[in-house]
């Protein structure tokens, strides 16, 4: 049974086409890496899954919700079930690590919150538990912008865990980190995905990392899927082809 399903999805920004006739589906518990050059449409595709942006044409179905026909309330309910980890971590630097983690619960607690004490005790306890899981319990009271990049990404993972998600999306989660930290974060994501039987879709541009980490590789080039295959037995060169082939749809180099 598929939890993410794209049917002939096209996304246009003005005259530019970011995704073009994209169709694929991902089953429950699959761990998928999305590869492709900068500007190939990886981020756009991920944002479609979380309904942060809606398709221009075609249909995106996530956890049985059709994002094109769902209303605001349904979309928020969907987003609650989908965790998202970003390249630049996207934490509020001035707030504490704990409060940043707590924001992951906003989808299920009602009303706006400002300040650590405005979150229910149970939420704070849960945030502490997740921070413990990512190894940052001792940093809970610190300001988020005092942490290193790897630590900030761990906080972002804890924030996503607060949603108790069924799907985890990650947009180049380690592109801003050094290689060693990158491997640690990817290992953490994989462990968590297996513990919680999450479906994971993660864009990466380190090909070796993608091959060793994912079960399945999807390659995008100029908004089209050009590769979709299990990772086992796949060679580096076959994946690199996604990057090197210059197709007719690519803009000429000026």
């Amino acid at each position: 049974m598929s939890v993410i399903r794209f049917d002939a999805v096209g996304v246009r920004f003005g005259a530019d086409s970011a995704l073009d006739d994209v169709s694929f589906s991902i089953g429950a518990g699959e761990i998928v890496a999305l590869v492709g050059m900068s500007g190939s449409g990886k981020s756009t595709l991920l944002r479609q899954v979380d309904a942060l942006h809606l398709p221009s044409t075609g249909r995106v179905t996530v956890l049985d919700t059709d994002t094109t026909s769902a209303g605001g309330r349904e979309l928020r309910a969907l987003r609650r079930r989908v965790g998202f980890v970003f390249q630049q971590f996207h934490l509020v630097g001035r707030l504490s690590v704990l409060e940043n983690a707590c924001t992951g619960a906003l989808g299920r607690i009602r009303g706006p919150r400002l300040g650590r004490v405005s979150y229910p005790k149970a939420v704070r306890a849960q945030a502490m538990a997740h921070l413990e899981r990512v190894g940052l319990a001792d940093r809970a009271a610190q300001r988020a912008d005092t942490l290193s990049g790897g630590q900030q990404q761990r906080v972002a993972v804890a924030r996503a865990l607060m949603q108790d998600p069924e799907i985890l999306l990650a947009d180049e989660p380690v592109a801003s980190l050094d290689p060693e930290t990158a491997v640690q974060i990817m290992a953490l994501l994989r462990e968590i995905a297996e513990e919680r039987r999450l479906t994971v879709l993660c864009s990466l541009h380190q090909v070796e990392l993608a091959l060793s980490w994912a079960d399945r590789i999807v390659g995008l080039r100029a908004g089209r899927i050009v590769l979709d295959t299990p990772a086992t037995g796949l060679g580096r060169d076959e994946v690199m082809a996604v990057y090197s082939q210059v197709g007719p749809t690519l803009a000429p180099i000026r």
Binding site: G83, F86, G111, R113, L114, M162, Q163
Partner: protein, 495 residues
């Protein structure tokens, strides 16, 4: 269109020069001015301070009124700015409407609002608080909207991705990022409102300003100047306290949040008690009052008075710029990394002298007139403009400067080749902004006796000819609009 730019600039320079010469500044600076000064000091010394408890009571009253007005503007501005910022607005129409409300608040001069509200609510703090509070929305609301727009969109996206609602996202990810800017703007406006509240004392806003105005009206210069010294001390004190608060708001240390909130809460309660607001039956009288201001009456010579106000503003901006441009350039860290400190300190010092104190002294020294108002404004303009120019010089792209330096160019070659061309546009913008500020300020200084439309306002309020207030308001709005259009056009044409 671009070809017209040099002509427009030349016309502005000629107008400014004509304004400076026609005001007769030279007579003030040489000869007669000194004679007045000596005579004035003879009458003003020794200073006659009121008893300590009265000084404290007046200061508390002034601080309460200015503070409550600022609080009011913040309370209105936060929701308004949320509607006005492109990243937080729920709808385009809400954005346009709230931007328009902010622009109107900015265009309505506080002195005119004060005159209107005095008719409605009577003497006391309410009129002053409402007048300054509503007018302040023009600045606070705009800067708050800018602060919201400058936040990093990443955290908001991330929080929205968790399934949070719009309001939850705003509070969890956007407002926390903008809080330091919110606090800094509020403190800055508090500082401005303190000075304005004193000037508004001349139309009846309670506190130190009213006491000063009363003393000067009695020709009791010993008391008047003593009160001016108190005002100066209060301004310096507030500057120091707000510097501390600003640093606390930006501090990375934990624990400041709670202390700050506690302090702010106590200060608010104290202010509200001090301001002692009451609406009375004022709201019921609103309609009847509005009728007083219609139809507009043109007082004799109002156009000459308007011209005098504009002339003061123009001359003051030009004189201020003559001082501020070199000062600001020298104070910029990327021009004189070490020696610049001296100029920075000088700018802070000039900023600290409230225009009112200066104006009173100058008005008395030179006899009532435009020259005094112009000098007072010029000094005020030099302070603000100096800071803005230093900022715009510091904000240029350092990589371009480095590239020019790498060719072996000297310090001033780098400045002319890389720094100045990058900063020029921002500097022009600041100059026109200062002109706009000065038109309003020149109107206010008219209350103290500097002439122009401010004096017309004061008189027509006193003789209950409110139709004249409407005329002056319309004329002022026209002038301000013209300046704004000119600034817009220059920005477009020069871009």
């Amino acid at each position: 269109m671009k070809r017209l730019v040099p002509f427009v600039v030349l016309a502005l320079v000629i107008a400014a020069t004509a304004a400076i010469t026609s005001i007769g500044l030279m007579d003030v600076l040489t000869g007669t001015g000194w004679a007045y000064a000596v005579e004035f000091l003879g009458r003003a010394l020794p200073l006659d301070f009121p008893p300590m408890d009265e000084v404290l009571a007046l200061s508390a009253r002034t601080l309460s009124i200015a503070g409550t007005a600022t609080l009011l503007s913040v309370l209105i501005s936060v929701p308004l700015a949320t509607l006005a910022a492109h990243n937080t607005t729920p709808h385009k129409a809400a954005r346009t409407t709230s931007r328009a409300v902010i622009a109107v608040a900015r265009a309505l001069p506080d002195v005119i609002l004060a005159i209107v509200f005095f008719r409605v609510f009577g003497l006391g703090a309410t009129a002053g608080v409402l007048a300054m509070g509503l007018h302040s929305v023009g600045m606070v609301g705009k800067l708050y909207a800018d602060a919201l727009e400058q936040t990093d969109p990443g955290p908001a996206t991330a929080v929205r991705a968790t399934g949070a609602t719009r309001t939850q996202t705003l509070l969890a990810a956007v407002i926390p990022q903008a809080t330091p800017a919110f606090i800094a703007t509020a403190l800055h406006r508090f500082d401005i409102n303190l000075r304005v509240s004193v000037l508004l004392g001349f139309v009846g806003v309670d506190g130190l300003g009213l006491a000063t105005a009363t003393a000067l009206r009695r020709l009791d210069y010993q008391r008047g100047l003593a009160l001016a010294v108190v005002i100066l001390a209060l301004c310096v004190l507030l500057e120091l306290v707000s510097g501390l608060l600003r640093r606390a708001a930006l501090s990375t240390r934990r624990g400041w949040g709670l202390t700050g909130a506690l302090f702010a809460g106590l200060a608010t309660v104290a202010m509200l008690i001090g301001a002692d607001l009451s609406l009375g039956d004022g709201l019921g009288r609103l309609g009847a009052t509005a009728e007083l201001f219609w139809p507009p009456i043109a007082p004799t010579g109002v156009f000459a008075d308007l011209l005098a106000t504009v002339r003061m503003a123009l001359a003051a901006t030009a004189l201020g710029a003559l001082l501020a441009v070199p000062l600001g350039v020298l104070a910029a860290r990327n021009v004189l990394p070490r020696a610049g400190g001296v100029f920075r300190a000088f700018i802070v010092l000039v900023r600290g002298i409230p225009e009112l104190v200066l104006a009173i002294v100058l008005v008395v020294i030179t006899g009532i007139g435009e020259a005094a108002g112009t000098l007072a404004l010029a000094v005020g303009a030099a302070g603000l403009l100096g800071k803005l120019i230093a900022d715009s010089v510091e904000e240029v792209d350092p990589r371009i400067e480095e590239a020019v330096r790498a060719t072996g160019a000297g310090r001033w070659q780098v400045f002319c080749a890389a720094t100045l061309p990058q900063a020029a546009q921002a500097m022009t913008g600041h100059l026109l902004y200062q002109l706009d500020v000065n038109v309003r300020a020149a109107t206010l200084l008219g209350l103290v006796g500097a002439g122009g439309v401010g004096f017309v306002l004061l008189n027509s309020a006193r003789v209950l000819e409110f139709g004249a207030v409407t005329t002056v308001l319309t004329l002022l709005l026209g002038v301000v609009l013209l300046i704004e259009l000119l600034a817009l056009w220059l920005r477009r044409a020069a871009a």
